[in-house]
Amino acid sequence: MTPNDTLIGAGFADPVFQSQGAFRALLAALSEPGLACDLGDAVVPPAGLEPATAVALLTLADYETPIWLPAALRDGPAGAWLRFHCGAALVDDPAKAAFAVIDGAATEPKLAAFNAGDDQFPDRSTTVLVQCAGLDGGEAVTLEGPGIAGQRSIAPTGLRPAFWAEVEDNAAVYPLGVDVLLVHGAQVLGLPRSTQIVEIR
């Protein structure tokens, strides 16, 4: 065991204002889907989490919100870091999670494995943070829906081949469905369930 496995890094130095700033970026990301928003570099993330993933979870997660992590992250420093700073439970069942972090390139779990809410409480769905290799330079995907004037094009990279089909299936069950945040570095890009995929080139 190296020292890094046992030492838990610092969280926000200034929780009130850093979480407020990060929340406004997240609010902008979900209210204007496809727009990359900067969450800043307020924390040094534990191994396995992108900086924006760590900031987003510090801002939003607490003892009320179970988090699902891939097994390697859950048992590593990332799991310990989130348990310590957020006080959040780490769950094994994706359907029980309020927040989830997945690797965009991994084939499992599918978006459909997470909680899509129920028809009377669609807000009880999982918010899925998808860590990917980049938010531009990939194949162009055209989006449409609330928060977008006309259409908006994004081109994230490092996503599994079937990812966009899963996002389409997720949008098809609107108003149910998970809300996706694509994360790379300090940046986050929102794909709420209300966003439709128009074209993939």
Partner: protein, 308 residues
Amino acid sequence: MTVHQSISDETRPAYNYAYLDEQTKRMIRRALLKAVAIPGYQVPFGSREMPLARGWGTGGIQVTAAIIGPDDTLKVIDQGADDTTNAVSIRRFFERTADARTTEATDEATIIQTRHRIPEAPLKAGQIMVYQVPQPEPLRKLEPHEAETRKMHAWAEYGLMQVKLYENIARFGEVTTTYDYPVMVNGRYVMAPSPIPKFDNPKMQMSPALQLFGAGREKRIYAVPPHTSVRSLDFDDHPFRIQSWEQPCALCGAADSYLDEVVIDDQGGRMFVCSDSHHCETRRAEGHRGAMLADASALHLVEDEAKP
């Protein structure tokens, strides 16, 4: 949790920044993100006791407290006016608890908390409207049970609302609802736009600003993201219409703003003035003059910019 004391005076209580504790803010922020992802759907949230009575804008205040930061400029209006009791006390609340920079100018504000109006000046991208909502459930007067209205929203069963509008037309020849006029958001949820006059409903359609709604007593938060379809319910043969007035504003001469009727004596005299006080002042400063501006100015009720 770190307590941020923005007021250096040791005798004052050490509130957290923007009054709410951080755990409450996180809960409200999560509700806001879900509300934005499901436009028009009412997200339940754990509304807190605030230092003023429910019904005085506690929902809007909690939403504003959860989003406001040091970079924001806050405008608060009550029925369009910046200088009425509710607006003044909420503005002072945030000046004291969040060191908020406040303004009366619509175009300078990043957050506009409002009771029952949308400003006349067009909203811009990046601005956030926060509405104070007394009754978030548009179907409540038709169906008193929450368990039933929840199912009606879940299954998009909005026939009852159309029947209500139809009965209005059958009885009176037109829809008589003039405020809190129900809207369909993103083609899915029927939503109460809060008691804004129906005059303001078209301003919500495809607005570039983000619109957040907080109902403190009823413990609901909902939202309309920018560029979202907000359609007022109507019928093909009875299209939605907004109010109009036969005379322009008596102070600034505006013919396209929402006017309040003001009784000015006990002889039946009355005048119509802009409900949006900042809009009216801006127009007067630009030299627009209404029919009764000279009289009102002589009585020192308003300032007449054109006078030397």
